[in-house]
Structure formats: C-alpha cells, structure tokens
Amino acid sequence: MFGRCVLAVFLFAAGNAQACVDGEALLGEAVYGECSSCHDVGPGARNRIGPPLNGIFGRTAATGSERYRYSMPLIRAGEAGLVWNCETLDAYLADPRSFVEGTKMNYPGLRDYGDRVDLLAYLKQFSKDSKHGEIDHMPEPQLEVDLPPEILGMEGDPEYGEYLSSECVTCHGRDGGNEGIPSIASWPSEDFIIVMHAYKLKIRSNPVMQLVAGRLSDEEIAGLAAFFESIKMDY
C-alpha cells in the first residue's frame, strides 16, 4: 500500500513549476468559487468538508490543519515527502485522484491549465511566502443560513443519528462515492447542520432533500451530524 502511494506520487508529479508565475490572482478568485463549497481560505477560515487553504504553499501534504481528518493516502503521501508547491499543486488540481489515489477530495479535476495557474496565483496570496503575505483583505466567510449558536453548536446523539442515517444511505453511499449524489461521510458537524437547515428552510432547492430535512427536528439534525462526522473514511 505504502509503496503504491509513493509510486503514485512520483509517477504523476508532472505538474508545471511555472504554474504560479503566469497566473492572474483576480481571475483565480472566480475559479476558486468551485472550491469554496468545501474549502475556506482567508481570515476566519475553518475546517469544512475540506481543510482551510491558508498557508498551503510549502506545507507537507496532510498537515497544517489540526483536527482535520485527512485521508490515509494523503497522509502516507505526506510521509513519503509530498510537499505542496506550484508543481505538485498543479498536478494535484489537474486530476486529484490520479495524483493521490484514494484522496478524499471528491473533485474530478480542473483540466484547463489557464484556470489552474490563475487559481494557484489566487491561493498563493494566502501563504506566507507570497509577496502579499497578509490576508486580512478577505471578508469573513458568509454562512449559508444564519443559525443561532445553540442550534449550530448543538451536541447530537450519534446513536440516534445512526438510526436516522439509514434513510440517508439509500442514496448517499457510505463509501465516499460521489456519483450524482455527494458523499456525506466524515462531514464536519457544523457544515452538516448548516446544509440541512438550508434545505429545511428551502434555501437549497433539491425537493428530495427539502422533504427529508423538512421533517427532521433540530435534535435529529444534530444527531445525524454527530453520526456522519464520526464515520472514519478508510480511503
């Protein structure tokens, strides 16, 4: 397993070291829109479905965000020496699952080189060695729904959540697959709570999810959030 991951890393490390020289940070901000459904960057960035991207340049893979549950393959790749820089990030973004087989980043890849260089230029602003260095020109990330802290931070009962989850796993596979319906395993509980309330309040539009969320109480949503957060994905 270990050997295979190391091989994967070096076999596919065909990124372009020039990648962040040519990019336009301003254009990259638009590309980043795609990433922002899972990753925060900038002040106040926190663990969401993915870890925050502050300071990503120069960092060893699968390190940096305490309490974030990185996938095993990414941890192993980090241990084998994978450090994020222009070249490696370029290759990873182009095709995440070929670059680190088994990564939990459920993203098919950004195929357009121009988009990648712009994105990297944008992200580089949030790493220390960038010429801007500072990151305080970013606004606080806006939450999708404004929930009172007692609901957002509600401690759910994972046992009840596990029972309720049997309704979810008819569609959301527990193995992290992401075909047509996203995987929800390992989601941070706060994200889970926000998204479910967004369906419940019909801010999000999918009618199946509106129905499902519509009949869940705040406690039930918290229970589900606690349960799904507790699923450890063995990628």
């Binding site: 569609c171 527990r174 519509g214």
Partner: protein, 421 residues
Amino acid sequence: MILNRRTFIGTGAAAAAILSSPMVIASGHAKRVVVVGGGAGGATAARYIAKDSDGEIDVTLVEPTRQYYTCFFSNLYIGGFRDISSIGHSYGALASEYGINVVHDWAIGVDRDAKSVTLAGGAVLPYDRLILSPGIDFIDGSVEGWDISKQNKMPHAYKAGSQTELLKAQIEAMPEGGVYAMVAPPNPYRCPPGPYERISMVAHLLKGINPTAKILVVDPKPKFSKMALFTEGWDNHYGGMIDWLGPDMGGQSASVNTDAMTVTIDGVEEKVDVCNVIPAQKAGKICEIAGINEGNWAPVTGHTMQSRMDENIHVLGDATNQGDMPKSGFSANSQAKVAAMAVRGELTGSKVFPARFSNTCWSLIDTDDGVKVGATYEATDEKIAKVDGFISQTGEDAALRKATYEESVGWYAGITADMFG
C-alpha cells in the same frame, strides 16, 4: 447442520459432547432469523440485522438465484444506457463480510406453529422470526390468452434478468416499421412509473435503430404515474411514435394470441411484432402458502412491518399491503430497515425508534431527461400514511432534468451498496 433447541436440550450424552464445542454453543444461543427473498427488501433486512446484532442473531437468507438483477435500471438497459452486467449483483459480500448464511434454494413451505421454513431441496430451517420479501407473482388469466408458460413468446420483463434480455433482443429484431405493443397492468402493481419508463426507453432504442417503428400501449387504467411528465416527454422526444389506449379505447379488456402474435382491443385484432405483457400482480406465492394474505397481498402493520396474521413473520416490499407507499425498491429498502430494527428489538432488546419511511422514484424519459416523484411516510395504527410529497414539474429546464438523471445514478449506487454491502 442445523441444531434445533429440542435436540440440544433433550439428549444428555449428545449435549455433553456439544458443550465441548464452543461454536455449537454459540449457535444454540443465537436467535435465528430466516429471510426469504434476496431482493430490495430481503437483502437489506438481512444485511442490517447481521450488521447491527454483533453475532447475537444468526441470519439465513434464502434466495434461488446467485445473481440478482435489479428491476430498477433494467429499463435503462433496454434503452442502451446500462449493460446487463451493471445491474447484476451477487451475494458474496453478504456471506463473507456479514456472516449471513446464504442458501440458494426456494422456500416452499412455512409451518407457523413449528416456526420453520421448508426448502425445495428438503432442508427445514427453524426461525425465531421469519422475514418474507418474495416480491410479486402474476395472476393467471388476468390477460386473456397469456399465462406464465407463454412468457418466452410474450415476455413480461417484470422480473429482471433473462426476461429483460429477451425483450430487448425481440425489440432489436423487429422488422423495419414494426409494432411493439405493451399490455400494461391494473393497479396495484410493482413500480407505478415502471411501464411508462419502459415505453420511453423502448422508444429511445427504436428511434436509433428503427425510427419508423410504432409503439402501442394498451392500458386498463385511465391515468398513470407521472402521466403529464411522460406524455410531455413522449411528445418532445418521440413525436408520433407512441399510441396510448386507455380504458375508454378498449384498454380494459385486451386479449392476446401468442401463436398469431396478435393483440385484440375492443374486438379489433392488431398484428404486432413484439408483445410485452405485464399481467396483474399479487404477493409472491410463499405468502399465500404461509397463509398470511388477505386477498392478493399480505397486510402488515407499519410500526414494525409485522404480518397482521402472525407476529413472528415480518413482510416487506411489493408483497405487502401496507398503506400509501408505492411498490418500489426504495420503499422495500426503507421498510426493511424498520423491520430490521424491530426484529433486533424483539430478539435482543436493542433500542427501537419510531418507524419512518421514504421513497423517491426516478424515471428516465430520454438521454439526460430524468424526472422524479417522492414522499415521506409515517406509521399510524391503521397504515403507513403519506406525510408530504413532491413531483417533478412539466417544462423544467434541461439542466435540472440532467441533474435529476445524475441523481438517479447516485441513488442506484447507494441503494445497491445498502442492499449487498
């Protein structure tokens, strides 16, 4: 070897010998659940009981076939969106990862007093709780001129696998400009939108290989599931190809002649090239054998999915008369989890939460044109009652329809993993 409680306690010397073998002691103590039928209901129930009972319950799953072909997405196979192997699933993981004893045989008898099931091969399986999820059988004589012995001439393809392959091969072999006819079933039947998704997929196939062919639907029902969505889609994609004849056009009393390959509607005989007869349906025969039917179906209480005739038997899926849920794979899977929880609660005292159910049925009309209908349900003393629901709207934009189709692909991956591990 199956050890029943009486021999275990009764025979002194044998008992001493048995006691020295820890494995046999374990099976003497474990509660026994027998599940008949390894489909959407049965496979899910077996997996959930085995998964959650930490070895306290022995689960035996009786299913004659080694490869289960899902009816869901079998229409997509006909349309050319799936190959047949992608809708076939084996029971390997249920046996190896969940320790379920999978027996490939038919259940042919249920002794409710002795609490045992007899298999065609002669074995007798004692149970503490029996779960029946045998799906449907057809009512002989419901379409004049057709019975099950004619299924190779005029396939139903309403149990998936070789029947589905046969129907597709017959459609592909139709002469240019030929006629495909469907005799649609009366209510209640498995998968309310199923026949009409099939019509869409047959039209999609024929449009590619035989565009002057005609499709004739003979229907005893004045209206059908997602009717506005299907008729809109048929007009948009397959204009002029499909004729639907409801009861006022003779759809009520169609008869067929398998030798002449004709369908007679209102006294007028039509020569057809393929005839897909989907007869009226009833609960899988084992329910009748067990004596738990009322009319054609097995009544159950929604709180636990227990038979109203025998509290030691739970019935799932298409075979049940439960209330408002449609007969679908999604429903059967949802009911299976309620039954699994109830059975564990009864046998091991594990925690039992109130029953809740849901269902969504996706249908594909043409490439990237998916629609859906769904609802949530709860158990009342009287029945499983609908709480709330939704349906796709006519005139939706292409992006939404495509997303709906993609969602169905995700659902298929999810539910089959939930059934087979």
